[in-house]
Amino acid sequence: MKGIAGSKESNDCLITIESSVKRKIEINSIVGVFFYDQILKVVEDTLDEQGLHNVKVIVEDKGALDYTIKSRLLTAIERMREDV
């Protein structure tokens, strides 16, 4: 099961999520030096809200706003759930 959402355009991010034995979050961000923690928090909070623990998430961030990251992650989750 796998879901992808977003794009690698500026101000956007591409998020890939798939099932895994434990939670794993990988963040590559052009603003990572300053905002790594903030991005990580958005991803973790969203996964908690959705009750997802055993997933691997890859965030390729091109300077997306928190709102965009959350929205892209939710779409990726939705797509993962549809991907049977």
Binding site: A5, G6, E9, S10, D12, Y67, T75
Partner: protein, 426 residues
């Protein structure tokens, strides 16, 4: 789905479209406006896209696609060869040197993905790295949009000012001109001269540009038409004030005014009509309740001879200009003269009728022009002397020549305005 979600979906759609194109093409360049806020399809996005559509010809791409979704309008340029490195340099140069370059994204993709910018872009407001400001919402989108609006409007103001000037001068400087005013002669207009025409030109220009900006408004309705009429009238007032009551460009205000309004409508939204169709609609709406019952010569000509005059040209969507503009390969005086003669032969010109006083002379003058050999200066001079000797002139044709030059110039600036569906030209 709320607006923000729709925007994100639109962005994703565009990315997928690019990916799809990369199956068949080696390089894709994407041009879009860099517009903050929720309205990605504001008129500013479209004006920005138009201002950079010259890239289509500059890049010499095989194909292009012009489209829009909730994330706004965008153009994709498609290339069979992998020229991404080369073209990326060109794009960066354009983004950094064009006065509106900061407000657009020109992204280059090849089969390996997109090539990133070396230098991070600066914020429009505080000069920090743009990403940082965005991330912490340092400036409101209104604040940023205000800057984009001001600079974009400045850009168009100066471009239009320059192009209107050049278009009017292209006609005015042509010499000899069969009774029309030239730099050396008042022709058949003893009450006018070159300096007076220049004064009239300068007086009407700001108001004509005003018609452009007014027509950017999204609502095409009665109140907009009313405003356009009022701006047109104030252009006439300003002209008469500058010339001491001499009518130099009343016909031009009407025709160029309609064309520039149509241009504003064409390039400020995803318009499916070409500029001539839009002009036709505006002209018809403007003169809808007109009865041709005044004592003006134009109205009498219509009642007596069924000659619509230059008003009819606008009402038809400038059907003669649609044909004539093909003659305008360049702006050399020989080409301009050829087009002027084309209009003299083909259009209904009430200025000529008024001066010929007689429908037979009106028709035989047109016949003389259809036999004129434009390679013979001798014939041109003879006909010029004949026209001045008989006090003839061709105001309507001169107006259409100005309109044609203007149309050609705005077409060279941006998207193809002459075809439907807003597809940019190659």
């Amino acid at each position: 789905m709320n607006q923000s979600e729709k925007i994100l979906l639109g962005r994703e759609e565009r990315a997928l479209l690019i990916k799809k194109y990369l199956n068949d093409y080696k390089t894709v360049v994407s041009l879009k406006a860099n517009m903050p806020g929720n309205d990605k399809n504001s008129y500013l996005s479209y004006l920005l896209i138009n201002a950079f559509s010259f890239l289509i010809s500059k890049f010499k791409c095989e194909e292009y696609s012009y489209n829009y979704n909730n994330d706004g309008p965008f153009v994709l340029f498609l290339f069979k060869e992998d020229i991404s490195k080369d073209i990326k340099l060109k794009c960066i140069e354009i983004e950094e040197t064009h006065s509106l370059g900061r407000f657009v994204d020109i992204d280059v993709y090849n089969t390996q993905g997109s090539s990133a910018r070396n230098k991070k872009r600066k914020c429009l407001i505080c000069n920090d790295i743009a990403f940082n400001c965005m991330k912490i919402n340092k400036h409101s989108s209104h604040e940023i949009i205000d800057i984009i609006e001001k600079e974009t409007k400045d850009y168009y103001y100066h471009k239009l000012d320059e192009m209107i000037d050049e278009s009017i001068l292209a006609e005015l400087n042509l010499d000899p001109k069969f009774g029309l005013v030239t730099p050396n002669s008042s022709g058949s207009h003893p009450d006018m001269n070159y300096d007076l025409m220049i004064k009239a030109k300068n007086a009407i220009k700001p108001k004509i540009i005003g018609l452009f900006f007014k027509s950017l408004e999204r609502n095409y309705n009665k109140s907009l038409l009313e405003s356009l009429k009022n701006i047109g009238k104030s252009a006439e007032t300003d002209m008469f004030k500058a010339t001491g009551g001499i009518n130099c460009y009343k016909g031009l205000i009407f025709n160029l005014g309609i064309v520039i309004s149509a241009y504003a409508i064409k390039i400020s939204r995803y318009s499916y009509d070409n500029i001539f169709t839009i002009s036709k609609n505006i002209a018809q709406d403007l003169v809808k309740d007109y009865n041709f019952d005044s004592q003006s010569f134009g109205d009498m000509a219509y009642r007596k001879f069924g000659i619509f005059g230059i008003r009819g040209e606008a009402l038809s969507g400038f059907k003669n200009v649609q044909n004539g503009i093909n003659l305008l390969r360049n702006f050399n005086s020989k080409t301009l003269l050829e087009l002027l003669v084309y209009y003299i032969i083909h259009i209904e010109d009430t200025t000529l009728l008024k001066r010929a006083k007689d429908i037979n002379l009106y028709n035989s003058v047109k016949k003389m022009f259809s036999k004129l050999d434009l390679n013979s200066n001798e014939q041109i001079n003879l006909l010029n002397d004949f026209c001045i000797g008989n006090n003839l002139s061709f105001g309507g044709s001169a107006d259409l020549l100005v309109v044609s030059v203007f149309l050609k110039k705005i077409d060279n600036l941006g998207i193809n305005i002459f075809i439907d569906n807003n597809i940019p030209k190659i």
